[in-house]
């Protein structure tokens, strides 16, 4: 780790102001990606702006939305009666991120802002049609994720909360990497009214994506059988020592069926 300056923001406005003034700043949420990277000397921000004092934690139901503060930890989401009641698939997803240490430090805002192509939350945001609230604006999930480790966020923009519309049915199934337990393939399916959304994480070379062929098939009939014969082109998928693109393409189909089965169970 190289030396850096640590600054703790008391408010979102304070954080934004520090982002504008400080030398080479980086926002610190749970720190479970950033700190290890800094320890390995692969990242070297000059300033860390800690958001833990900016009042961004908390979960509430607002009308037909579940609104989760950006600094809410995965463990808090997993244990939240509100989330468990309204979107059990989201609570379950949060409860299987990383390990207990990660879940008690890592935050939803940090995960979403990092947009790791194998992270779980991006699939939930995409499938549930969530909206990312920032210090400046509201960004629909569709427009927020902009490819591997890239988002629509500006340099001086801070995520404040994420609003999830409550679906009629939803489920998330993850096929974990045997080593890291990140998603090799994770599929989030959600049904609201006549609309079905299927979001896939872990597999895509550009990060999370919507699987429109599956969505169309499921919109006709929300049943795993509807996915028979619905393929996933391997050309757009990642390949590594754990899973080739072909294997991932196959897994997307299997895991999507299991997610639909779980959603209607």
């Amino acid at each position: 780790m190289y030396p850096f300056k640590y600054q703790k923001a008391a408010t979102v406005r304070g954080a934004v102001s520090l982002l504008g003034k400080a030398e080479d700043p980086k926002l610190l949420a749970g720190g479970h990606t950033l700190i290890p990277t800094m320890k390995q000397r692969l990242a070297s921000p000059k300033t860390l702006v800690d958001l833990s004092g900016a009042g961004l934690s908390g979960i509430e139901q607002k009308g037909r939305n579940i609104v989760i503060g950006a600094m809410t930890t995965h463990a808090e989401v997993a244990a939240s009666p509100i989330v468990q009641q309204a979107i059990p698939a989201l609570a379950q997803l949060a409860g299987h991120i990383g390990d207990p240490h990660v879940r008690h430090r890592g935050t939803i805002g940090g995960s979403v802002a990092n947009n790791d192509p194998a992270a779980d939350y991006p699939a939930a945001l995409m499938a549930l049609g969530a909206t990312v609230h920032t210090s400046k604006r509201k960004i629909p999930a569709e427009e927020f994720f902009a490819g591997m480790f890239a988002t629509a966020l500006d340099e001086d923009e801070v995520i404040t909360k994420i609003a999830f519309p409550v679906p009629a049915k939803a489920a998330y199934v993850k096929f974990p990497n045997p080593a890291s337990r990140y998603a090799i393939v994770g599929v989030f399916v959600a049904k609201k009214g006549s609309q079905v959304k299927v979001a896939v994480t872990g597999a895509g070379s550009g990060g999370v994506f919507r699987h429109t062929a599956m969505e169309e098939a499921l919109a006709k009939r929300f049943n795993p059988k509807s996915l028979e014969g619905v393929g996933t082109p391997a050309a757009d998928l990642n390949g590594d020592i754990h899973a080739s693109a072909d294997y991932r393409a196959h897994l997307v189909g299997v895991i999507a069926k299991r997610a639909v089965a779980a959603a209607i169970a």
Partner: protein
């Protein structure tokens, strides 16, 4: 006072210290004025070192010293050694290239040591290392075991990258057996490379005392005396009486901390050179890159059988990857620890094995839990299972037909098995595993879309890694006895100084149980002292499941002497003839009387020396022993794995695990069961999860836990563990050893279960979901083509 008997499942005495965070590991040791070492490592697998420019780095803040291979050469520091001489078929000695503690002229694997930076803080050392300019002449890498002999040359001393081409057994008799065979089973086997990953990474603190011209090395070692011997006699760091090696609490080793490595050696050498204590602790990446890895064999194996299903011959050709340099005991692992076990539990009349040890541009490979014996067991048990299926016999029945049943049994590959009852462990395991009900379970699984299989592994191992004359005749550079000293204090409490080293094995409990049961005192009144060359005179350390069989036998021998002397003292206290003194349950009694005295009183009398003539009987009560057993020990048993494969994803889930082991007499069944559990976990890790992968450029692709899959609790079922006992006749306690059994037995049991489930012998290790899915795809394509 409560006596703790042999065989009592008492809780581990040392765990209070460990679970309350009071353990003292090497990294917990900090010496006044200490500086920190950071190693600049090669990013290339193979390169010449054209120039190393340290000028700018040396001027950086906090830098104490920077040393390179030139400094090592100038100081005439010896290279690291391989302590086991192997000769090739033509009688020539193995061809080992030099192994300097800092690279000289060339780097040979990613992580090779280019320079050491010593600075006030670790951060400063890292900063300075970044400022060192190295001009590498990058060479093509040689990182594929199977093709290593035709790949780029790693050491000029080893033509064709071949360290030795060795063989064992009777070639002519084996060829004759294959000519006459009714059936021959052939398998191509890759035994995957593993990274040991002890929880505690390696660490060292070197310190120089200029007043006494003496050095101390605190380090993560399984055998501090061997480390001192090598550092003194071969590397020339300091004479033995001027070098103290301390291995305090050590958090796991699995073999990887047997060896004498560059970093530890540099710390103690540099401490004198720079005049400051020098500390180094590996981070996890360094552990992945530079610890000695395990396994990495490519083998073609054949089994000949006759018309009655009797095995008539076994033929093996193995290429064993040694990595870029020969580690301390590397040469012995694929030879005398491997091929001598190829008879398994079976009466095989003819065996012939050839082993080529090869250099590659990868981390050195040496002993890892089981060391050669898991590789042998995997070859034999895979062959036996495949042969049984091919000739249409039940795998258990095939094994029973070929089991050795008379002991002692001389195999065609050196080993003389002293005792065992292989049928007993197989039968018991089959009952515990409900093998009879397997067909029903398989059909039920099929309904859930799962392929269920059952696999056996009836393994044998040679443990103790002794006697000295035997290992000496096979090329070992050291004797492999063990020492013990029993010191009885005047109040009757006891300290045992042992040359064994505990790094998770529970010696502080099991060794105390032996003393408690023999002297009739509480285990709380016994301390076990180990891991410090200033306290324990000499010892050979812990590996090869030897501490019970060899280390405790030494303690037992010393206790014999304590008892004999204490009887003499007791005879004076009780005013009776020595021949009339009995010792039982901690009490000395005069035969046929009610006169008695307890052990503590006798101990006190031994020291106050009022009741006997010190000209005839020396005061004090302290005895030692060097114990060398009469043979290796041969733990054996039967593990049965039942597994289910999800056809859609390729995920294998172990449904049931049964282990029945014969470890001879057992001191603490709880600790033994724990050893079995840990061993199985590591064996399952090898079979399903773990694999160190180098790419063609010699980069370790699996250099972190993000890509190297360690087994987790989630990956394992509850184990059903049982035992059979045939006491070992080769040591006084009848112990065989239990530390490696699980890791030796498990891989073959898993793969045999998978090959049963999938109906093909072509299942690779590790059998990852992707690997199994690929096998399933291949089969379904073949099935479609057949239609």
């Amino acid at each position: 006072m409560t006596v703790t008997a042999l065989g009592a499942a008492v809780r581990r005495k040392e765990d209070h210290r460990f679970i309350t965070g009071k353990g003292q590991y090497t990294d917990d040791i900090n010496r006044p004025g200490q500086a920190h070492a950071y190693f600049l490592r090669s990013p290339h697998a193979h390169a010449t070192l054209k120039k190393i420019d340290i000028a700018k780095a040396k001027a950086m803040p906090g830098v104490v010293a920077i040393y390179t291979g030139d400094d090592v050469a100038a100081d005439k520091v010896g290279g690291l050694i391989c302590g086991w001489m192997i000769h090739s078929k033509d009688g020539t000695p193995m061809r080992a290239g030099p192994h300097p503690i800092l690279a000289q002229g060339k780097v040979r694997y990613v992580g090779d040591h280019v320079a050491v930076v010593i600075a006030d803080t670790l951060s400063q050392a890292k900063d300075a290392a970044e400022a060192i300019l190295v001009d590498y002449g990058v060479l093509p890498a040689n990182a594929d075991t199977a093709k290593a002999q035709s790949g780029p040359e790693v050491h000029v001393e080893a033509p064709n990258n071949t360290v030795y081409d060795w063989h064992i057994g009777d070639k002519a008799a084996t060829e004759a057996a294959f000519k006459a065979a009714k059936h021959v089973t052939t398998l191509e086997i890759v035994n995957n490379r593993l990274v040991p990953n002890a929880m505690e990474p390696r660490a060292a603190v070197g310190e120089y005392d200029s007043g006494n011209d003496a050095l101390t090395l605190y380090t993560t070692s399984q055998n501090p005396h061997v480390a001192r011997l090598v550092l003194s006699a071969f590397i020339g760091i300091a004479p033995e009486h001027k070098l103290r090696v301390v291995a305090p609490d050590v958090g796991g080793g699995f073999g990887s901390k047997i060896f004498i490595y560059a970093e530890e050696t540099v710390c103690v050498w540099a401490a004198r050179k720079c005049g400051r204590p020098v500390k180094w602790t590996a981070d996890r990446t360094e552990e992945f890159l530079c610890v000695a890895h395990g396994r990495d064999h490519v083998t073609r194996a054949e089994l000949a059988t006759d018309a009655e299903g009797k095995i008539t011959g076994l033929r093996v050709k193995t290429i064993a990857n040694m990595g870029a340099y020969l580690s301390t005991f590397a040469s012995s692992v694929p030879t005398y620890l491997y091929a001598t076990l190829l008879s398994g539990q079976y009466a095989i009349p003819a065996i012939y094995a050839e082993v080529d040890a090869v250099y590659t541009n990868t981390s050195p490979v040496d002993a890892y839990r089981g060391a050669g014996r898991p590789e042998a067991t995997f070859v034999v048990e895979r062959l036996v299972e495949a042969a049984a299926r091919e000739i249409g016999m039940d795998p258990a029945a095939f094994r029973r037909r070929n089991f050795i049943t008379k002991f002692p049994h001389q195999t065609p590959v050196i080993m003389m098995y002293d005792c065992g009852d292989y049928k007993a462990s197989l039968v018991k395991a089959m009952e515990m595993a409900d093998v009879k009900g397997f067909g029903k379970r398989r059909r039920e699984a099929a309904k859930r879309g799962k392929l269920r299989g059952l696999g056996y592994s009836t393994y044998i191992e040679a443990c103790g890694i002794a006697p000295s004359q035997a290992v000496g005749s096979l090329g070992a550079g050291v004797g492999l006895w063990e020492s013990a000293e029993v010191r009885v204090n005047p109040v009757g409490t006891v300290e045992v100084l042992t040359g064994s080293h505990s790094h998770g094995q529970g010696h502080e409990t099991t060794f105390a149980q032996l003393v408690s049961s023999r002297l009739g005192i509480s285990i709380d009144n016994v301390s076990i002292v180990h891991g410090d060359t200033d306290k324990v005179q000499f010892g050979m350390g812990t590996y090869g499941s030897r501490s019970g069989a060899v280390g405790m036998s030494a303690i037992s021998k010393a206790l014999d002497k304590i008892e004999a002397k204490a009887k003499k003292v007791a005879s004076h206290v009780l005013e009776a003839a020595e021949a009339d003194i009995d010792f039982k349950d901690g009490k000395f009694t005069v035969k046929g009387t009610d006169k008695s005295v307890d052990f503590g009183t006798v101990a006190l009398n031994a020291y106050i020396a009022h009741k006997f003539n010190p000209q005839e009987l020396e005061p004090g009560l302290k005895e030692g022993s060097f114990y060398d057993p009469t043979n290796f020990t041969f733990p054996a048993g039967c593990h049965i794995c039942e597994i289910e494969v999800d056809q859609e994803t390729g995920v294998a889930t172990i449904a049931k695990w049964t282990a029945v082991d014969d470890f001879g007499n057992v001191i603490n069944p709880m600790i033994v069961e724990g050893q079995v559990h840990g061993g199985i976990a590591q064996g399952v890790g090898q079979a399903l999860l773990e694999g160190a992968i180098y790419n063609k450029d010699g980069q370790l692709v699996t250099a972190s836990f993000m890509d190297y899959a360690m087994p987790r609790a989630h990956d394992l079922p509850s184990f059903d563990v049982g035992m059979t006992v045939t006491p070992c006749p080769s040591n006084p306690l009848g112990i065989k050893g239990c530390g490696e059994a699980g890791a030796i037995a498990a891989p073959a049991a898993v793969i045999n279960a998978l090959t049963d489930a999938l109906g093909t012998e072509e299942v690779p290790m590790p059998a990852t979901p992707q690997a199994l899915w690929t096998v399933i795809q291949k089969q379904s394509r073949a099935a479609i083509a057949a239609e």
